[in-house]
Amino acid sequence: MALADTPQQRLADMPAPSSWLARLTPLGLALIVPGLLLIFWHVATARRWTRLIPTPYETAEYMVDFVFGGIYNDAFSATAHIHLLASMSRVYGGFGLAMLAALPLGLLIGRIPLARLTLDPFFQLMRPIPVTAWLPLSMILFGLGARSAFALVFLGAFFPILLNTIFGVKNVDPKLFEAASMLGCKGNAQFFRVVLPAALPSIFTGLRLGLGLAWFVIVVGEMTGVPQGLGAVIMDGRTLSRTELVICGMIIIGVAGFISDRIVVAIGNRLLRWSPNHHG
């Protein structure tokens, strides 16, 4: 705010005649690749290079039916929201639980040497195991169904949050602790006034990665005999040879994951206005 008072800043803030163009350009650039892909898809299916994949138009029609119904009226008509909600509840539920577990653990491991010595080697050993490798074990432990999917999402989101929190807490500039103590902020008070805000950018990176991974894992998790969920839709589509259903499920996951990432980024930009690396 104060900075906007400088004359140069004022000039830069002035709405130039071509500002709407400047704003549209990135959008236009971003749409080039998807547009080309769509054209290729259209050409490939219209010319019957492949018969395994429906045309973009057919897929769009299925999508409308999947979301609103009224075209085919089969078992999947107008059910998109049910599957989306089922997946979202697992993604955000698992993610939320992972956050509740990973944040305090990360703060503990990052701050307390004893906790680091006890827990860090264990987590470092567990970390390289891909989430998908947990699938059989989680099916054995939690059975076929929603709980298994939930557990996988939890595992997927847990490690990025944990590791980035540890990293953020361990890498606070030591000068800041000296500055705080010479200003009269000592001991545990430093945790809230120095450690937490200093680690926030790193913690946010962890949350963003964790949420991305949660969306990534949900499909695998829902392939284990869950009746509802976008992963289940994709699996059903494959079993029933309904490729358009597979593609519709993929598109919805992509869009939902994208929107949820944008929301996290927007929150981050707001909370981390102060950070030169997080431009708001």
Binding site: M1, A2, L3, D5, D173, K175, L176, E178, A179, A180, S181, M182, L183, G184, C185, K186, A189, R193, V194, P197, A198, L200, R273, W274, S275, P276
Partner: protein, 259 residues
Amino acid sequence: MAEPTIPIIEIRNVTKTFQLQGQTIHALKDASLSIRKGEFVTLIGASGCGKSTLLRIIAGFEKPSEGEALMWGKPISEPEPQRGMVFQDYALFPWLSVRDNIAFGPTSRGVPKVQARDTVERFVDMVGLGRFADAYPHQLSGGMRQRVAIARVLANDAEVVLMDEPFGALDAMTRERLQEELLDIWARTNLTVVFVTHAIEEAIFLADRVVVMTPGPGRIESDNPMLLARPRDIASPEFNDIRRALSGKLHSHHGKKAA
């Protein structure tokens, strides 16, 4: 003030050793120095002669290996708001605005909100950052950041301000302005300043006393009162004479080493 004989800061025969890769490094050997309230003392010397170590001992960040460091006759055991440190690389809290950085000390010490706000505004104005009070450190120039760092310790009622090459990273013009502003603040308040620098001119321009240190092991070579009237003219012949004399003292240890 009440007892003019007691120095505000006293260093008595302080030795500081560090263990580094199995070697013992004498950062400071048998250093003694006493500083009276209101004095402006500069520490000057070659790299590695223990200037920062001495300053950090006064601040309470380090403990002497031998000897003692006292403030008003009492041993310094930990960092305290009475002794504010201004670091070369600012060490501002990047997540706090200029105003909140300056308010950090008072709020940490539980100063009532209304009173803290008045104090903060006063010091924001004192260092001329009124227009930038809501800006974050990364939006400021180096000179402005160092002003915030100075205001931050002043707003916290520091009696002694410890400065470790505070203007070392700034361009010449900004440095000169900040030197004058610092002298101005010092003249108007009852501050005691201990100021580490590499630059002889800066040391002479600012100080009541220039303490020359020599390395290997770090020792206090001499303590030189500066009697030139203020404001001082860097271009004057008197200034030049002092510079030459100090320069000789600074480099005297090279001869000793060779012998």
